[in-house]
């Protein structure tokens, strides 16, 4: 009898059960990658150290998986017990054997004619809870799949795609809920963050990211502009289990480049929100860019760590923002502690004592065009930063010196149509590089940087092997020394990389994965 029980416990079905407690203690099982950022704290750091500066030169492709449909791939795999779960374009989820790269099942969903989207049809990945995978779709559905087979368990409509809503974000599973954000900040949506019961798909709460009539902050919008003010939630946030707070960034106010009809700070656009995970109530907010007119979303992954500030250990949240500033806040209260630019910027004299930008004159978009650093891509964007508990450095893939010309134009809101109020363009003679920057997490001081030929939205992974993995727009996947930034290894994948790397174990051997072009590349030491 004991033998039978033991066998039941080690069957694949049992192993695929990913409880909330397993995700909460993700560091205890470094061979898996159980949530978008690797842990709830947004670190994208692997405790694995088999691959290190001494042997990384021997890193080779173990296998490559080619996706069937063309298009932009931004997937960050989930890995459970040797199986990778990835999203492919347009609405495909595939389980891959980690040892061989061979598919085990594939879920394919019809593409709705109602979908909108500013920027292709990317999807950044899945969430897993117990034996269920969760997928957000371009037509704004949340779908639950059986992790063993890919068969659909339920789906719910999160929003109406005909109004410009879409989902590109990887959901976040917290306790018994699935947290899902929304995209559509270029379509005059009203942003929100939702929680659904993981078993049934029933909505648990919704937090509107633009306050309604009578709510605090509503008066930061002119007239009816709050109804179409954007503040989307399109990048996965972080979670502190002890404080039971979800940290989630919000996007630009709409229309993007013309604020004439939305006078005011436009809360809670371009903000970090701290939200009670059980109730969806807002605990605190910090707005990085009040009344943004440059499309400087603040959706970048918040990174949670404890650190010494002014001689005192504090619970911190750090954020490298699209507006070119790096911020450190107290994550219990939202108090601003540190802030400094991590790339060139020409729009603010600096930050005041409360972290509010001191704006310079003549930086708003005009009909004729206004040149401002940073450009539309900002200091950084949706790509994942990484934080290493070993180096205590915050790593970010940054634009490094791109200005752009911003224009505004008058634009009427039309439901489901793009609502941006202007545009932007590159400067002639501009060939701006990118850079991996290592920032001292508590102070914002830049320790080192590694320049890349061009900028790309590709995330970083730090490892306990003292490496930082990153990517270039020309297709290189590379490894840097985490302490110095010295390049130690590279591989040309043959296509632009716009995805986030992960690391995991297969049969006790460390692997590293990155999506490039329309393929997933997986590397290991020979």
């Amino acid at each position: 009898m004991k033998t039978i029980i033991l066998l039941l416990l080690i069957t694949p079905t049992a192993l695929a059960q990913v409880s909330y407690e397993r995700i909460r203690r993700a560091e205890a099982e470094p061979g898996n990658w159980l949530t978008y950022s690797g842990n709830y704290q947004g670190h994208r750091h692997s405790p694995l150290k088999e691959i290190n500066p001494a042997n990384v030169a021997r890193l080779k492709p173990a296998w490559v998986y080619q996706m069937r449909d063309p298009g932009k791939v931004q997937t960050s795999p989930i890995v459970v017990d040797g199986i990778l779960y990835i999203t492919e374009k347009p609405h495909v989820v595939t389980a891959l054997d980690g040892k061989t790269g061979r598919p085990l099942w594939s879920y394919r969903r019809a593409v709705s004619p109602d979908i909108r989207g500013c920027c292709g049809q990317p999807n950044r990945g899945l969430a897993i809870l117990d034996d269920t995978l969760f997928l957000g779709t371009m037509d704004s559905k949340l779908v639950a799949l059986d992790v063993r087979t890919g068969k659909q368990r339920w789906e719910v409509a999160v929003a109406d795609p005909k109004l410009g809503y879409s989902i590109t974000v990887a959901p976040l599973a917290v306790k018994d809920k699935v947290i899902i954000g929304i995209a559509g900040g270029e379509y005059g949506i009203r942003g929100f963050l939702d929680a659904y019961d993981a078993k049934t798909g029933k909505q648990c709460w919704r937090l509107w990211t633009i306050p309604g009539p009578g709510e605090f902050g509503h008066d930061t919008w002119e007239g009816a502009s709050w109804k179409t003010g954007g503040a989307a939630t399109w990048v996965t946030g972080a979670y502190d289990p002890e404080l039971n707070l979800i940290y989630w960034g919000t996007g630009n106010p709409g229309p993007d480049w013309n604020g004439d009809d939305r006078e005011g700070d436009n809360l809670y656009s371009d903000s970090l929100l701290a939200i009670d995970a059980d109730t969806g109530k807002l605990k605190w907010y910090f707005q990085y860019t009040p009344h943004d007119v440059h499309d400087w979303d603040s959706n970048q992954t918040p990174v949670l760590f404890d650190g010494l500030v002014d001689g005192r250990m504090r619970k911190l949240v750090a954020h490298a923002n699209r507006n070119a500033f790096y911020y450190v806040l107290d994550r219990v209260t939202g108090e601003f502690l540190r802030g400094a630019p991590f790339i060139k910027q020409t729009w603010a004299k600096g930050l005041d004592a409360k972290g509010h930008p001191i704006r310079l004159p003549d930086t708003f978009p005009t009909i004729e065009g206004t040149v401002v650093h940073p450009g539309i891509g900002g200091g950084t964007n949706w790509q994942s930063p990484s934080w290493s508990p070993l180096t205590r450095l915050f790593y970010v893939m940054a634009h490094d010196g791109q200005a752009q010309t911003y224009f505004k134009m008058k634009e009427e809101y039309r439901p489901g149509e793009s609502f941006e109020g202007g545009g932007f363009r590159n400067l002639i003679g501009d060939e701006p590089p990118g850079a991996v920057k290592a920032i001292e997490a508590e102070t914002g001081k830049i320790r080192w940087e590694f320049k890349t030929h061009s900028y790309t939205s590709a995330g970083l992974l730090s490892t306990a092997g003292s490496l930082v993995f990153g990517s270039s727009g020309e297709g290189h996947f590379f490894a840097l020394d985490a302490e110095s930034g010295k390049p130690l290894w590279r591989f040309q994948t043959g296509a632009r990389i716009t995805a986030n790397p992960i690391s995991f174990l297969v049969d006790g051997k460390q692997h590293v994965a990155i999506a490039s072009g329309q393929a997933l590349f997986v590397f290991a030491i020979d």
Partner: protein, 267 residues
């Protein structure tokens, strides 16, 4: 740069007024509105002069996805599903204005020039040695830009200037890469010194974080990892083309310009 890009640049700068002179069906105000809308709505991806960026170049005689007016309007209005080309928020009249501007980005009407194109062709092939660096219809060198349809892309005034003073107007670059080819295609002049002391130079063919590929004046392609180089320089704003000011007489220059203007691809 790159006579080709330089010429494209100047053509595009001058192009609007040329369009106005030769396209009476579109009023000046409509055209300027079309250009203005293009700058705001399209230039972010396609470049301010349609030269391409993250989106493909539009400054070509034939647009692959919009081979006629109706298709061009449809592409602008509906976008291209599955790509980053979004549907437009503009109304019908505005879409037509943008389409008019886009259509003209790659269509320079013939200019009246005084030279003899046949004589210019002979000078191009003999006294000028132009084919050593430039190709027409797949014949000639690859060190400089292809000239097969240069008459569609450049005006006579700029062609003349690029012959007499090649370095006069050399933009650094338009963007790191053309979106549709993944290549820089801006003929940036580079110089390297290898660790064993060899000095080489040429026009950049491609580059990434770790490596550089360039073509020398003998049409040989060189490739180096940057870590293997003692020196690596990019000569922004320089052209490797020699001046023909003292090579051709004024009449001969007129003939060569007339020949270049006549290069408009297959009829």
């Amino acid at each position: 740069m790159t006579p080709r890009k330089r010429l494209q640049y100047v053509f595009l700068l001058l192009g609007t007024s040329l369009f106005l002179q030769t396209q009476p069906s579109t009023s000046a105000s409509q055209l300027s509105q079309g250009e203005r809308l293009f700058q705001v709505q399209c230039a972010g991806c396609h470049g301010p002069k349609g030269e391409g960026g993250s989106g493909p170049t539009l400054a070509t005689p034939t647009l692959v996805r919009a081979t006629n007016e109706a298709l061009l309007i449809k592409v602008i209005a509906d976008g291209i599903p599955g790509t980053e080309m979004p549907r437009s928020r503009l109304d019908k009249e505005q879409i037509k204005q943008v389409a008019d501007f886009v259509r003209r980005l790659g269509q320079l009407p013939p200019e009246r020039v005084t030279g003899d194109p046949q004589r210019g062709k002979e000078l191009y092939e003999t006294k000028g040695f132009c084919a050593q660096c430039h190709a027409i219809n797949g014949r000639g060198g690859a060190f400089g830009p292809d000239l097969t349809v240069i008459g569609l892309q450049r005006g006579a005034r700029h062609l003349r200037e690029s012959l007499t003073d090649p370095g006069a107007d050399v933009p650094k670059s338009f963007s790191a890469f053309r979106g549709d080819t993944g290549l820089p295609e801006n003929y940036l002049q580079v110089r390297v010194v290898t660790k064993d002391g060899r000095r080489l130079s040429g026009a950049r063919v491609n580059e990434d974080t770790f490596s550089i590929q360039f073509r020398d004046s003998a049409n040989r392609v060189h490739s180096f990892f940057k870590s293997d180089l003692a020196e690596f320089h990019k000569d922004w704003g320089k052209s490797s083309m020699p001046s023909y000011r003292d090579v051709f007489s004024k009449a001969e220059l007129d003939d060569v310009v007339a020949y270049l203007v006549s290069l408009r691809g297959a009829k």
